[in-house]
Symmetry: C2
Subunit: 441 residues, 2 copies
Amino acid sequence: MSSFIEPRVLKGFRDYLPEAEIARSALADKLEATFRSFGFVPIDTPALEYAEILLGKGGGETDKQVYRFRDNGDRDVALRFDLTVPFARFMAEHCDELYLPFRRYHLGKVWRAENTQRGRYREFMQCDFDIVGTDSASADADIVLTIVSAMAALDVGPVRVRVNHRGLFNRFLAAQGVSDKLVSVLRTVDKLEKVGPEETRNLLAAETSMDLAGRVMDFITPEGSSAETLRKMISLCGNDDEEAAAAGKRLSDVFSIATSCGFGDSVNLDPGITRGLDYYTGIVFETTLLEMPGIGSVCSGGRYNELASLYTAKNLPGVGASIGLDRLLAALEALGRRQESDPVPLVLIANTESVSLAQLHGQAMELRKAGISSEVFPEPKKMSHQYSYAEKKGIPYALMPDGDSLARGVLPLKDLARRSTTEFGSLSSLVEFLKSVKMHG
Amino acid sequence: MSSFIEPRVLKGFRDYLPEAEIARSALADKLEATFRSFGFVPIDTPALEYAEILLGKGGGETDKQVYRFRDNGDRDVALRFDLTVPFARFMAEHCDELYLPFRRYHLGKVWRAENTQRGRYREFMQCDFDIVGTDSASADADIVLTIVSAMAALDVGPVRVRVNHRGLFNRFLAAQGVSDKLVSVLRTVDKLEKVGPEETRNLLAAETSMDLAGRVMDFITPEGSSAETLRKMISLCGNDDEEAAAAGKRLSDVFSIATSCGFGDSVNLDPGITRGLDYYTGIVFETTLLEMPGIGSVCSGGRYNELASLYTAKNLPGVGASIGLDRLLAALEALGRRQESDPVPLVLIANTESVSLAQLHGQAMELRKAGISSEVFPEPKKMSHQYSYAEKKGIPYALMPDGDSLARGVLPLKDLARRSTTEFGSLSSLVEFLKSVKMHG
């Protein structure tokens, strides 16, 4: 009868053990602090929604990447696969209860039945932030400033936010008389980083002509500075094009705001950034960690002018970005810059039979009241066993009250890494010491 | 063609707007801080698991409350309906990578296709904490102490953790010669609070006999103090019963630990607490907010001695509790003790055309660097419009730089509630003021 059910998770899913979960939540905390410092407020939406909401009408074709099923009430439902579509539905539904412009951030899980052979997960955390209800350089800049600030808070080394504007590309292709090729050219250029300039040129030539491919390659090659690059792009759009001029003005405004905030070096114009997605209409951007450019963009986004048009006639222009939390965590790990957080707990109260549980727990509670995390080892096992537990858990100190120390009125604290013990004459001196090590690492 | 998709969520699901989400996350932060102060570490598990894992074998019968479906790979999968079953699977799978005793907490969403007519949600947040790998009074007490500490951190007023021990009930029924009725009697007694003593007695009489119903009612009626109640219970088990004596000793140990931590008044023996679930084997408890007893227990749990027996032969005794986050949030709301958090943001930088966006954003960034959250209103709209935005969002102050104040080198800060403006001569004096209001409310 010993037929156990094999304890395992689904392919593409994973457990977070404490170390990983602590690192993830430390990362999330820092991002949230940055978002809030910019006035973004948090929201949440359901994991499960009507499939029609998530996938749009004409819902016959099942998107293979979507977890879609009929619920117990025979409703056609699906797990959210991103945070953008639910946000669009959210804005259409709650617009009148909110204030515009609405700045929100949303950290949440999404689910995609991806091909796991490419190292992708089927459940992962997304982190989006947007400003909706305004089409202004101020909002565009705020998203870019938030990205640079968030990366600085995470201590991921120097970053570059590479910005472009869809309007320029549109007008450039219009000037070449091939507006109809916009989406396919954008998608090909989007692959530049992955396949290199040679291959991009070949792909473009196959789609259009050798000649046009050359002109596109010229258009997407940056000059020495953002200002020079912008001048070249506008001239290639035809200098008298009003739409191109407006896009250029928007980019200049964003760059001058970034410069006045001290972020000039971190924000560049890169005409090779297009973002494959259809819905962007204004600025678009990607974020590169200069110490790890190979991992790709850790934060991407752009301006869209019709967030919720599937659900409402209301005009809701917006700009936003999405952080790839898993990619960022992996990068931090690779850079040896795991997000630090306080040891949990700071002190193990060792358990010896000579001291009552009531006393041990009383002492632990005193420490907690003074802001020091502590736990009582629950059984009077051998000291070597208790130390080894503390070591595995990453607890740096052990308080070891025993009959002798109690009689002498002292508190013996063992530094488990140094294997040295210090006796403290009072709880307050012990607390003072522990607070100082907590602050200074 | 204006056929929009109606923006709506599924029945039993809900969006969290910023105010609600901020309250929820403030609550979660306080709970997490308490858990960590006791040495609990966080974990996470997938939302979706094999149905076999979540529902056990003989999986033919579909539990109507479970969201269960076939995924794109035709796997029989389900959304987790609690955090206990995934934790059991987690412990069976990762036991060897972890240290025992393992203290974990887990905050996460769960899904149940409940009848929404009873005001229940189909998606809700659970919060569990457990200590696994030890059967000790120390661990039992730690769970109880954590509950009392968490409730104190949340400022929900006085609480009572009502504790009992399954062993006493077992032995009492054995002494009456009706051990076989254990589960049904436990479940009936569990309804005591809801249906009252009269009805409980009737139900018990129908299940057993009038005579036994009377003896059960006597057994579950508390005396003046926990110690007196315990003496009576042990005597009704037959004073020479070793198992009853051991259970009594365990309860006494828990009470004396609670007392030595200053929580004696908050932890009582209540022989009417049974918890309906089969798997408890030792102490069981419920938590009552004394200012709102009617809402029921806000934190319940107990000791189980076979956490992961479906998945492994390893013996994993444990003790744990589950906090009903939604119930607690509703209680806090009703008590007018919504968890406070800093306004997001503290300062709106008003937008007038006389000051450049670059300057406005530069000022906002200076404030952020000094630890003051701020946002720039993105467009130069009428001041009344910008004030009304700040009011709706709960932003208490507006910084209103204009040509005149810039020329005079002053920073005019408007207190939006008092409608008064103060001019600061420097950024540092402004920051000092804002930090003082932030600290003192």
